[in-house]
């Protein structure tokens, strides 16, 4: 082995040993509490986003149900079929219940 490569090996070993000798820092006071605050914040954001998504989905479901009721009424020749659609829009839950009972 040449002197140059021996020197290189030595320098590399020194760097590796120096790197290993570096002690890991410890968590500062309050660090864990900070992580938990972030995690709770994320969780709340997620819950809020889920709730935000639910309302538009419910609204769309109501409109779809009203459209189906209007079409069904028109098809069955109910006069005026708009009344059924209006009944859905005014009280979607009540209409669904009466529809289920009716069936």
């Amino acid at each position: 082995m040449s002197t140059e490569s021996m020197k290189m090996e030595k320098a590399e070993r020194a760097l590796a040993a120096a790197h290993q000798a570096v002690a890991a820092p410890d968590a500062p006071a309050g660090w864990q509490a900070g992580v938990m605050r972030s995690v709770r914040g994320l969780s709340m954001q997620r819950a809020a986003a889920a709730a935000d998504g639910l309302l538009p989905r419910l609204a769309w479901a109501t409109v779809a149900m009203a459209a189906v009721a209007w079409l069904a009424g028109w098809h069955l020749g109910c006069d005026p079929s708009l009344d059924m659609a209006m009944a859905v829009l005014e009280d979607p839950a009540g209409f669904s219940t009466s529809l289920i009972w009716g069936l």
Partner: protein, 214 residues
């Protein structure tokens, strides 16, 4: 025989404690997925030291708490994707290593710093290492405060990926397989990168040595 019996008992006990630990963690993870966010604190408590050790070996110490914080937040966000086929600690270590890689990538490849950027003390350190006549003298040099600065300087010359792979494989002594697992790269890719990065580090060191011998 006695020693073999004892070591077998030790293996069985440590296997038992590893199983108990895995079962505790999977229970905690189930609770978190079920909406008990506060249960996450048990995982933070358990793995805090390990994450600090990993991040502390790759990043400047003043940035460690902030990056370790991000590691746990990322773990919480990705908990749904944790399949549980490997220990949670291993999964977390991968996140930590990748966050370190992201950190250096975000810093951008540092402008190559001239050797003259090393102080006289740091150059004298390299000179002392190379001239150390005995093992004791060598170790004495390694323990000196300048050592850390020279390591940081040498690694600072490398790109993010080279820096990570050379640190894991050549400075920390991980096997190529372990390093590839932590970095999320294929084994051949890790092997080639580690070789190239070592070559780059050698070039940097040879420049330093030239500078020192002048």
């Amino acid at each position: 025989m006695m020693a073999a019996g004892l070591s077998m008992t030790h293996v069985m006990l440590s296997e038992g404690s590893a199983e108990a630990s895995a079962s505790f963690e999977s229970d905690v993870i189930r609770r978190i997925r079920g909406g008990d966010v506060d249960a996450f604190e048990a995982l933070v408590e358990r793995h805090r030291q390990r994450v600090f050790a990993i991040v502390g070996r790759h990043l400047p110490h003043d940035r460690v708490p902030e990056v370790a914080h991000d590691v746990f937040v990322a773990a919480f966000q990705g908990l749904a994707s944790f399949r549980g086929d490997k220990p949670f600690g291993h999964w977390l270590a991968r996140i930590a290593v990748r966050r370190c890689c992201d950190f250096w990538r975000a810093q951008g490849r540092r402008r190559e710093q001239a050797i003259s950027a090393l102080t006289d003390d740091q150059r004298a350190w390299m000179d002392g290492v190379l001239a150390a006549p005995s093992r004791e003298a060598f170790e004495e040099q390694v323990a000196r405060g300048e050592a850390r600065d020279v390591v940081a300087w040498a690694l600072g010359q490398l790109g993010a990926k080279d820096r990570m792979v050379v640190t894991l494989v050549h400075l920390q002594g991980y096997s190529v397989k372990e390093a590839s697992d932590l970095l999320g790269w294929s084994v051949p890719n890790t092997k080639i990168r580690a070789m190239r990065a070592r070559h780059a580090l050698r070039k940097i060191l040879s420049k330093v040595m030239e500078g020192v011998s002048r």
